[in-house]
């Protein structure tokens, strides 16, 4: 094991005010189970899960309540014991409607009696066995994208993954959940890393952490000190978006994921530290993913905290656990300020990807009217994908989707650096998002036409 500075300089990016001080020093607090939990069947990327329970069913903690709706999907488990009150569509934290299972807790938190036992001697287990355990535990990428982990761990024939990168960058301002997890549960994270490494047969392990978390770097170094083989803690320059997948792979290894490709195309796989810890629980103890650490913070939260909360805890309950709001918030954001999703009310709930809840007072909500582009080029410098957001935005405003596609709008990772920098306050990343969905629709149309011709 050794610690190295990232050899490859991050591309673009910005330095927002990190504002992590409110919670970085606070130990993770376990929140008591709420009386009412809203468990979404669309917490992951891919097909929604199919509910296995109906109104009136009694469920126990850890009992599957929805099964994977396909290969790229995930299982969902009851976060506590209680009664299913409703199963139906509801607005979720993503801002979209999905089937949500409402559970009224019975207060006993009774565990599921048919839960699979873990494999304490997982070193003897086959890769297939381990991936099945992970899939059955409903584990998805907890860093934000929510890609089902078992899919990532099942690379197609011929794709060899030799490098496992563990993402502890936590580059979003305000959030400290991963930071605390690394400090408090470094050993568990390392167990998870070792399991993934065994599944993939990956020789190289890189644990990537930004240099604004020296204590987390030390904690991970300690946990990794006896690791065999090529294991490195890679210290990254603090800069948003270091934790973005393609950028992280580049910083940690110098490998460039081709446009439209996947990390496995360059033999790499990225897992978030929280995901690694969840994998350790699932494999060694048979515990499915029903809780996560989330940072509840922002100037409009009375007592900011890092909270270990059950999946399904409503934002209202989560805020109440942290002393409630200081006055009426102006904006409530699920996630961080750079990529988080605003909530119209505190009605939605914690999902497997909810890294934080950020409450901004009305005075902190900024709104702008945008001006014409003055070609300052700051968005170009900031873009970690080396795109031309200013030029793209003008084409997209003119609905010239063809030219936008030529200028690689589809490569945009929607990190928001361009809009963060723009002195003319142009909604650059917003134009890109809209443009991406339009180009996607046009591509589909094109494909349909081509099929018709044949």
């Amino acid at each position: 094991m050794k610690t190295v500075r990232a050899a490859f300089k991050a591309l673009g990016g910005v330095h927002p005010r990190y504002q992590k001080d409110a919670t970085a020093g606070l130990a993770i607090e376990t929140m008591p189970v709420s009386a009412r939990l809203l468990v979404s069947t669309a917490q992951h990327l891919g097909a929604p899960s199919k509910p296995l329970v109906k109104k009136g069913d009694i469920v126990a903690r850890g009992q599957p309540v929805a099964e994977a709706g396909g290969f790229v999907s995930s299982w969902v488990h009851a976060p506590t014991s209680g009664t299913v009150k409703t199963v139906g569509p509801m607005l979720t934290a993503s801002g979209k409607s999905a089937t949500v299972i409402e559970i009224e807790a019975d207060g006993q938190d009774r565990p599921h009696d048919q839960a699979p036992s873990g494999l304490p001697d997982w070193k003897a287990a086959s890769a297939k066995q381990l991936v099945e355990l992970i899939s059955g535990a409903g584990i998805i990428g907890m860093g934000g994208a929510g890609f089902p982990t078992h899919v990532k761990l099942s690379p197609p024939e011929g794709k060899k993954i030799d490098t496992l990168i563990i993402n502890g960058a936590e580059c979003e301002p305000f959030l400290t959940a991963d930071h605390r997890l690394m400090l408090e549960q470094a050993g568990k994270i390392w167990t998870g890393v070792a399991i993934i490494r065994q599944i993939l047969g990956a020789q190289h392990v890189r644990v990537a952490i930004e240099d604004n978390k020296p204590d987390a770097i030390r904690a991970m170094e300690k946990a990794l000190q006896d690791a065999d083989g090529d294991v490195e803690v890679v210290v990254l320059e603090t800069r948003y978006p270091q934790g973005a997948e393609k950028q992280l792979i580049y910083s940690a290894t110098g490998r460039v994921v081709p446009s439209g490709g996947l990390p496995m195309d360059v033999g790499a796989l990225v897992e978030n530290v929280g995901t690694a810890a969840a994998i350790a629980d699932a494999v060694t103890r048979g515990i499915p993913l029903t809780e996560r650490v989330t940072t509840v913070t922002g100037p409009a939260i009375k007592n900011p905290k890092n909270v270990l909360a059950r999946i399904g805890t409503t934002f209202a309950d989560l805020a109440a656990f942290c002393g409630g709001f200081l006055g009426e918030p102006g904006k409530l954001i699920c996630g961080g300020p750079m990529m988080g999703v605003t909530q119209g009310a505190a009605a939605a709930s914690v999902g497997k990807t909810t890294s934080g809840l950020l409450a901004i007072p009305p005075g902190g909500v900024i709104s702008y009217s945008s001006m014409p582009c003055i070609s300052c080029g700051r968005c170009v410098t900031a873009c970690p994908m080396k795109l031309l957001p200013c030029t793209l935005s003008e084409y997209l405003e003119a609905e010239n989707y063809e030219e936008a596609e030529n200028l690689n709008v589809m490569d945009c990772i929607e990190c928001g650096c361009c809009a963060y920098e723009c002195p003319a306050h142009r909604p650059l990343v917003q134009h890109m998002r809209q443009g991406k969905s339009r180009v996607m629709a046009i591509r589909k149309q094109r494909a349909a036409q081509a099929e018709k011709k044949q």
């Binding site: 080029g377 031309l388 002195p423």
Partner: protein
């Protein structure tokens, strides 16, 4: 079941944070960066300089306000870009120019070079330079009548003289003004171009404020230095030294404040290098073989015209795309 509240907090698409910079703040920084040059202009050319600056700024702002209003377009003058244009145009004028000519230049800069194109962000050419070019073509004598600087007196010296580059072009021989005079600005020329030190202080401020990047000024000045160094090496008797070339004429004012105008120059850093090199080569061609002793303004204007082409050819390769592969 608890009733969901209908009240909603602000919904918006991320990011929910901003750098805090704005067009107005950038323009304000440019104005602040020009303060040393404005002070130097008044020190060396007295009231003439002050009057030109006031006339140009006032007429630019007024023209902008009236035209924006007539076209019912927002924003009006709050972005401060008209102030910047006014100051830059004034600093590019000879000290003895009558005020009414300066006003005509200002009106052309704002109305024709800027608003006709759609206003800030849409203009193809640097408005101040377009105004200066128009005055050069309309009033060639007034625009090339130079007064000697006179520190301490109220007005510029009434004695007409030639700029260092002008005199060398006509008569050749050893230059009149020492490098020290060129540095502090004690030499004939446009009111804001003479003091190299004042301009460098302003340029450093703009770099620090991230209003400019080093690429254009370094490429521009570097190209002039290399080009003039080469011809000086070949024929020292008929050429000025590179240092003299860099410090005389309007090179530093142009390279630091005009060739770095965001709107009319490329957005990429590599594009800015090409832009600067182009400006440098053209400037030296004009200085060496042109009909006039100085060519910075026209060099920049020509490169302004080539900016869309540079932007098109010099598009950065997105991360993850290899050369030759789609």
């Amino acid at each position: 079941m608890k009733q969901e509240t209908t009240q909603t907090w602000v919904l918006s698409s991320s990011p929910h944070a901003h750098s805090g910079d704005s067009v107005q703040k950038i323009m304000l920084s440019v104005i602040l960066a020009l303060v040393p040059a404005m002070i130097a202009s008044v020190v060396f050319f007295g009231l003439n300089a002050a009057l030109l600056i006031i006339c140009c700024v006032a007429s630019c702002v007024l023209a902008e306000a009236v035209s924006r209003r007539a076209m019912r377009r927002d924003p009006g003058i709050t972005d401060l870009s008209a102030v910047v244009t006014g100051i830059l145009l004034a600093l590019n004028l000879p000290p003895g120019l009558p005020c009414w000519m300066a006003v005509i230049g200002s009106l052309f800069a704002i109305l024709v070079a800027k608003q006709v194109y759609g206003g800030l962000g849409y203009n193809m050419f640097n408005p101040a330079l377009a105004g200066r070019a128009m005055l050069m073509l309309s009033f060639p004598i007034a625009m090339t009548t130079w007064l000697a600087p006179s520190v301490g007196s109220l007005c510029a010296d009434a004695v007409t003289t030639a700029t260092p580059l002008g005199k060398f072009k006509l008569a050749g021989g050893a230059p009149d003004y020492s490098i020290l005079n060129l540095l502090i600005g004690n030499r004939p020329g446009c009111i804001g171009e003479t003091s190299a030190i004042a301009l460098l202080i302003g340029g450093a401020f703009l770099l620090w404020r991230r209003c400019i990047t080093w690429h254009t000024p370094v490429a521009f000045v570097g190209t002039v230095a290399i080009f003039s160094g080469l011809i000086y090496k070949i024929d020292p008797a008929h050429n000025l030294t590179p240092l003299y070339h860099v410090l005389s004429g309007g090179l530093l004012l142009g390279a630091l404040f005009m060739a770095t105008d965001m709107v009319t120059t490329p957005v990429t850093r590599s594009g800015r290098l090409v832009f600067g090199i182009g400006c440098g080569v053209l400037t030296m061609v004009f200085r060496k073989w042109g009909g006039m002793p100085e060519g910075v303004s026209f060099a920049i204007l020509i490169m302004n015209g080539l900016t869309p082409l540079i932007s098109k050819v010099m598009r950065p390769r997105p991360f993850g795309r290899r050369a030759g592969k789609a």
